[in-house]
């Protein structure tokens, strides 16, 4: 009974002297849309190519729908729709001929061929370019042809290697909407280094760096609390008399959950601003209670979100010795 769509364990890949993957392991259950993040050369493409059957791992195992991608390669590949990095296509072919060719090579039953091509064409919005040669298409349309090719046989798993690279913002939005739509019924794993893309399309993020997994979590959790966050407060006294910044700061330091206090500019007059770092717990309630007890007025409490960019840079910046963070 296959419960997971992708199961990767201890995957390594060596090209000569360079290690592209160093013991990568993760599992993707059915129906998840997973974003695969990492700096260039982190091993994203290698992992996806191993899953698609284009690269053979040096050691470790990878299964798709419980089929080993090396031992039972042909069967495993039947379950996969793959959009390679750079989207290679037969340039001199007409779009419709290319899709027919793919349907034949994939051995889509003759009786279903035209229906499958038609539905892929509709989903990817290729109706108006069917009779054009692929080399005449814009990049956005080329990418759609690549996606149409990948979904033609109605695969369970879609592997999309940088599906939006090189597209203009409008095309990116279109392709993303398409991926989101596809993600409703299929398992999707997509790689990108556009972080907002992950936030808008994926329910889970895997971050790799130096051939290892450094984070595995939902985009919300990676962008919020995790190992703490920041709260900015603006305070004033009850009767607008001047406040002693040092004393108030020391008081704030005593609030449970607050780990660090920095004074920042207030709003002018007799107001004070503080930037507070806190741990995993949300400190706002105790902060409010503290302020009331001190006879102060809370003019503003603002939680600052850690952006995915910050998390990404923190996790992938200092090389590969970071420990993977477990999903809750």
């Amino acid at each position: 009974m296959p419960t997971s769509m992708i199961h990767i364990e201890g995957l390594t890949k060596r090209y000569g002297n360079t290690e592209a993957l160093r013991g990568l392991s993760f599992t993707v259950p059915k129906g998840q849309v997973v974003g695969f993040l990492g700096p260039n050369g982190a091993g994203k493409s290698t992992t996806m190519r191993i899953l698609a059957g284009y690269v053979t791992p040096t050691s470790g195992t990878a299964t798709v729908g419980d089929l080993d991608v090396v031992q039972r390669a042909v069967e495993a590949r039947r379950l996969i729709g793959y959009l390679p990095e750079n989207n290679p296509l037969y340039e001199e072919m007409m779009v419709v001929d290319f899709l027919k060719f793919i349907a034949e090579v994939r051995q889509v039953p003759v009786s279903q061929r035209s229906a499958r091509i038609k539905s892929a064409v509709e989903r990817c919005g290729l109706g108006q370019v069917l009779g054009k040669d692929i080399n005449q298409l814009s990049k956005g349309f080329r990418q759609r042809v690549g996606l149409a090719q990948a979904i033609l046989h109605e695969p369970d798993l879609l592997i999309l290697d940088e599906p939006t690279s090189g597209l203009d913002p409008n095309q990116i939005v279109e392709i993303r909407a398409l991926i989101k739509d596809l993600g409703r019924e299929k398992t999707v794993i997509l790689s990108t280094h556009i972080l907002s893309e992950v936030q808008s399309t994926c329910s889970r993020v895997l971050i790799v760096s130096g051939g290892q997994l450094v984070a595995d979590d939902s985009p919300e959790r990676l962008t919020s609390s995790g190992d703490g966050g920041e709260v900015t407060v603006v305070l004033a006294s009850k009767f607008n008399q001047p406040l002693d910044a040092a004393a108030v700061g020391t008081g704030l330091r005593g609030v449970p959950g607050i780990t660090q206090v920095d004074a920042v500019a207030g709003e002018g007059g007799n107001t004070l601003g503080f930037k507070l770092r806190h741990g995993v717990e949300d400190p706002r309630r105790s902060l409010f209670e503290h302020v009331v007890k001190q006879d102060l007025v809370l003019l503003e409490v603002r939680r600052t979100q850690v952006s995915l960019e910050d998390t990404f840079r923190k996790l992938t910046g200092q090389g590969s010795d970071a420990q993977p963070r477990k999903a809750a």
Binding site: Y15, R49, A52, G53, Y54, V55, T56, V74, E75, R77, R78, I80, Y82, P84, N86, P88, L89, Y90, E91, E92, M93, F101, I102, E104, V105, R106, Q107, Q149
Partner: protein, 239 residues
């Protein structure tokens, strides 16, 4: 096998959609025509001997020119990644390319059939034209082409560069054509070995109208060796 046929069909169409096809096949037909017509007009002799005698040499150049882009182009444009991730075994790609190439060479040969027809129509009354050697000759040419295609495909699979593919194919085909040309000067046993390795020697046997299994086995095994080598090279492209 369905996948192999799909690949063959696509390859065949692409070939005839490119100018290379017309240059290569045009050049072949021009030379073959000259080989046939020059004795006809110069000595007034209508014979296919010259034609069948020299087409193998033309194949040494024609076949690698037909096969040179088959694998190299897939590697260069990256579409090999697409093919290698399709649900089929690697040999299907090679067989598809092989069938397409054989089809292309057959198209070239098809245009030489009028020569035989014209020779047949010129035979005097009472001396019926013997079609046997003609059929045997064409069969021999197809077998020879298969062997060369196997070698040419391997050459093409070795690099991303079509020209490299062409040259490797040319050298291999030439070696198997030329190997027995000095056999007469060598000791007898060595000469026989070289003769057995020569595609031309086996072709002459067949073109004479004698269908010997040894000749068939030779061509089929040389073709198989070429295709197996191509498949191996292709599989190693998986890294």
């Amino acid at each position: 096998m369905e996948s192999a046929l799909a690949i063959a069909k696509r390859e065949f169409r692409t070939f005839f959609g490119s100018p290379i096809a017309y240059i290569v096949l045009g050049g072949f037909l021009l030379l073959a025509g000259w080989l046939y017509f020059s004795p006809l007009f110069l000595i007034g002799q209508a014979s296919l001997r010259n034609f069948f005698g020299l087409v193998p040499v033309l194949f040494v150049v024609l076949v690698p020119a037909v096969t040179m882009r088959a694998m190299a182009e897939e590697r260069k444009s990256g579409t090999l990644e697409l093919l290698l991730t399709m649900p089929m075994d690697d040999w299907q790609i090679v067989v598809g390319k092989f069938l397409a190439s054989l089809g292309m060479v057959s198209v070239g040969l098809l245009w030489t059939l009028p020569y035989s027809l014209s020779v047949a129509s010129m035979t005097g009354p009472g001396a019926p034209f013997d079609w046997g050697p003609v059929f045997a000759g064409y069969l021999g040419l197809l077998l020879l082409a298969s062997a060369f295609i196997g070698l040419g495909l391997w050459g093409s699979a070795l690099s991303k560069n079509q020209i490299v593919g062409f040259i490797v194919g040319l050298v291999l085909c030439f070696a198997f054509y030329f190997v027995d040309k000095f056999a007469a000067l060598l000791p007898e046993t060595l000469g026989q070995v070289l003769e057995f390795l020569s595609v031309d020697y086996h072709f002459e046997n067949i073109a004479r109208g004698v269908l010997d299994t040894r000749d068939l086995v030779f061509y089929l095994s040389l073709t198989a060796v070429g295709l197996v080598l191509t498949t191996r090279t292709l599989s190693s492209a998986r890294q």
